[in-house]
């Protein structure tokens, strides 16, 4: 079973490769969290909320995070000085669903996934776009789930959940996304 007899040759190639080819000037790969933070910002532009989502025209557009915050300053940076239809974008962080009041987007960290049923029930009758990076979140009724496949961020969108909350998701988001249905037994 003697495969690959030329191993020392291979080693030389690796070393030579590392030394010789430092010329590629491509940008370094960003982290999952950076790209997800920018997606959260983009959702504010590619999803349409019903007018009753805001109590007053001066209300801010709130991106909430419940559970551990995976984004840190990156999300604040992404929404800094941005506004949507006159509503200033702000980020708010909640320790549990009981603290959450009106927000347009709610990111449910995977640390809160054990309480997902409770969270979704509390958001019933609210026009809140729910987003999570937890495995299987979209099947369980979360509207948009981040998944990392082949080192790229994929969107899994539960259109039924979004529609039930009165939200309209732009085809710009839907086209490259994977459309997921809620498991029948879930409800």
């Amino acid at each position: 079973m003697a495969l690959l007899r030329g191993k020392r040759w291979l080693l030389m190639v690796v070393v030579a490769g590392l030394i010789a080819t430092q010329a590629l000037g491509a940008a370094d790969a960003p982290t999952e969290n950076q790209v997800q933070a920018v997606f959260l910002f983009n959702f504010s532009r590619f999803v349409e909320w019903p007018p009753q989502a805001f109590a007053a025209p001066s209300d801010p557009f709130v991106i909430g995070i419940v559970g551990s915050d995976p984004f840190g300053a990156r999300l604040d940076e992404a929404v800094h000085n941005e506004q949507i239809n006159g509503h200033a974008l702000i980020v708010r962080r909640f320790r549990s669903i009981s603290e959450v009041d009106n927000c347009q987007i709610l990111f449910i960290d995977r640390s809160e996934i054990a309480r997902l049923g409770q969270i979704l029930a509390a958001l019933d009758h609210h026009s809140t776009l729910t987003v999570s990076q937890a495995d299987g979140a979209a099947q369980r009724g979360v509207m948009i789930q981040f998944a990392t496949e082949n080192s790229r961020i994929r969107l899994r969108i539960n259109v039924d959940s979004a529609r039930a909350a009165g939200l309209t998701i732009s085809s710009k988001l839907l086209r490259p996304a994977e459309i997921i249905g809620t498991d029948v037994k879930e409800q």
Partner: protein
């Protein structure tokens, strides 16, 4: 493989008894501002990295669990599962020679270490010959491992007998996540040759498959005087996995592996190993809070080891021979999870295992009877009660019936208190047992009609532990997380080697030891920046075993432990510009007491360093240069200090990885 039935240990014990007794922080070129300029489709095509581990998933677990992720494994440069297990701070990992490893949690890491339960995709891989693990034959295409969960502390309630000091759960990726071609090849001073190939495809939109092959050729380690330890080995393996989302609720998995290996033995001759297994699993999700799983597997393993003659004091009691073992395991498990009201989450299950073990005895070494069939039935139930939103109590027990000792009960009580989303306290009291294995009752050295000097004890019963644990986890912010687990364990009926009254010989195994151990495990991750993460780990372990009143142990209670009191690790993962990554892992292991019979021997404490330099030349091609054990030409990690003790050499290898 041979380290397991290593006779020298017993023989020496007899002889001794009868005789003399940087880091520049790279700028992250892709700023949030630049990413915001991209449209949705471009954003989805941005390649992302994840240096961050995911402790947040663990924050609420009420046990001392540590998770080794795929990214951890890749960046460590590990080429085998034992090497990857060095990434868990709550394990003691020592390489004995080129092909044998000693791995345990919370101590008892002897040549016949027997208190860990190890599973690969739900298939138990410890051998009922001695309740230990043949680490040389547990392998996989490491890139297809999703994660390795390492739980220190008893896991008997959920996992069953043998989960006395810990559980290692190796979980491979679903076929859906291993699509396309993956080729990795390389070599160097060790491993000399390494080749992995995997191909994954789809049978239908809902059904994916992969198959793989792996070949490793590893050279010999050396002795203290620089001579070869003559323990080179090579192993080939292959396998497949098919996953199907049969419906919205149902998932089906079928997987299997085959392997064959040949290992040169220091004492002369070659060991042969081979095995096959096939496993099927059906899981059905009824709702958010209710699901069930049914799993069954068949596993066959074969080993053939040269057995040295039994010579004591220059007198040959039995000649050399070949020892062989062929074990076939049939296992079926069922598990069901559901809720009662809003506060109770119940999980229960049933299991049955049948093992058919056939040994071919050598004159000097035997298991009697040579053929043995065993049945194991198990039933468990556990209820997690939400006392308050932040406080949950878990109560459960396993009930097991085995052919050696009849019924065994392994209960636990766990309390988890979530102080806030970033901090949790947990505590547990649990009991677990190690039921007898073949060595405890059936062992015979040498085989009759030769004179028997050591044999199993026909009355050998289960060893047991009652463990008290207290743990704390914190995620200070996204940058810093830490976890500390402490334990106090009381062991009873631990194995001793005692004497036959009046005739002295044969010596036989009994349950003559008891004692306490205590210690703590600390682990911490610090994300210095988007491109740099640090990890630190420390374990403290104190062991106090003694001979029970009225009992005898010819080894003075010194032969069931071989562990460092302290060990720590410090690791750095750095993403450099131009798609380059650099990882270093420094470890320090305290003095190891590897006693031989009642005679104390040690492995000196040591520092060691591993490094990994990787370069992603393109989306498809990656190069890596790995150095292992760089601080010494060679150092011992295990074994009684004599001239035949193998030492582990400094090694380096290079490899390329092609993904398409």
């Amino acid at each position: 493989m041979t380290g397991t039935i290593r006779r020298s240990w017993f023989v020496s014990a007899l002889i001794l008894y009868g005789g003399a007794a940087t880091l520049a922080q790279a700028d992250n070129a892709s700023s949030i501002g630049e990413l915001k300029q991209l449209n949705v489709e471009d954003l989805m095509n941005v390649e992302v990295t994840s240096v961050a581990r995911h402790p947040e998933k663990l924050i609420e677990a009420a046990s001392a669990i540590q998770v080794i992720t795929q990214e951890d494994i890749r960046r460590s440069g590990a080429t085998s599962i034992p090497e990857a297990l060095r990434l868990a701070d709550n394990l003691q990992v020592a390489q004995k020679n080129s092909h044998d490893w000693a791995i345990s949690a919370r101590g008892f890491n002897t040549a016949l270490a027997n208190k860990l339960l190890v599973m690969i995709d739900g298939r138990t891989v410890y051998t009922p010959l001695y309740s230990g693990v043949f680490w040389d034959v547990q392998d996989y295409v490491l890139a297809d491992i999703d994660r390795i969960e390492v739980i220190s502390g008893p896991g008997g309630t959920l996992w069953g007998a043998n989960a006395v000091n810990g559980v290692i759960n190796i979980i491979t990726k679903s076929a859906k996540d291993t699509q396309g071609l993956y080729v990795q090849a390389g070599g160097g001073s060790r491993p000399e040759d390494l080749a992995d190939v995997r191909y994954g495809g789809a049978l239908s939109p809902d059904t994916q498959f992969r198959f793989y092959g792996k070949y490793v050729d590893r050279g010999s380690e050396v002795l203290a005087n620089g001579d070869s330890a003559s323990d080179a080995w090579r192993q080939g393996r292959g396998g497949f996995r098919v996953d199907s989302d049969a419906s919205a609720q149902d998932k089906l998995t079928v997987q299997g592996d085959v392997y064959e290996g040949h290992e040169d033995e220091q004492a002369g001759g070659t060991s042969d190993t081979s095995g096959e297994n096939v496993l099927g699993r059906w899981s059905r999700r009824f709702s958010d809070t209710s699901d069930m799983g049914l799993q069954s597997y068949v596993d066959r393993t074969y080993i053939s080891n040269p057995a040295a003659p039994l010579i004591i004091g220059g007198l040959q009691f039995a000649g050399p021979g070949i020892f062989q073992d062929e074990l076939t395991t049939y296992d079926v498990d069922f598990q069901h999870r559901f809720r009662i009201g809003t506060a109770n989450s119940v999980v229960w299950g049933l299991g049955f295992r049948y093992t058919h073990d056939v040994v071919s005895n050598a004159p000097s070494l035997a298991f009697l009877p040579p053929t043995l069939d065993r049945d194991l039935y198990s039933l468990f139930a556990q209820d997690e009660v939400a006392l308050r939103p932040d406080l949950s109590l878990t109560i459960g027990s396993k009930l097991e019936r085995n052919d050696y000792t009849g019924f065994e009960v392994e209960p636990n009580v766990r309390l988890s208190w979530i102080l806030n989303p970033n901090q949790a306290l947990w505590s547990a009291i649990s009991r677990a047992v190690r039921t007898p294995s073949r060595i405890d009752q059936d062992f015979s050295e040498a085989a009759p009609p030769h004179f028997v000097v050591l044999e199993g004890g026909s009355d050998f019963k289960s060893e047991s532990v009652v463990a008290y644990e207290l743990g704390y986890r914190v995620q200070l912010d996204q940058q810093l997380s830490a976890s500390v687990s402490s334990f106090f364990n009381h062991y009873n009926d631990i194995r001793s080697t005692t004497i036959t009254p009046t005739t002295l010989l044969p010596f036989f195994f009994a349950n003559g030891l008891e004692g306490d151990t205590y210690g703590l495990e600390f682990t911490s991750n610090y994300q210095v920046s988007d491109t740099w993460s640090l990890h630190a780990g420390y374990t403290l372990l104190k062991e106090h075993l003694h001979v029970k009143p009225g009992q005898t142990d010819i080894n003075d209670a010194l032969n069931e432990t071989a562990d460092p009191q302290h060990q720590f690790s410090l690791r750095s993962s750095l993403n450099l510009p131009r798609h380059t990554e650099f990882d270093t892992a420094l470890r320090w292991v305290d003095t190891l007491h590897t006693n031989n019979g009642p005679v104390v021997g040690t492995v000196p404490s040591y520092f060691e360093l591993d490094t990994h330099l990787g370069w992603h030349a393109s989306d498809h091609l990656e190069f890596a240069l790995v150095g292992q054990n760089l601080l010494h030409n060679r150092h011992p990690e295990y074994g009684f200090p004599d001239p035949s003790r193998p030492e582990i050499e400094r090694t380096a290898y290079g490899k390329f990885t092609w993904r398409y």
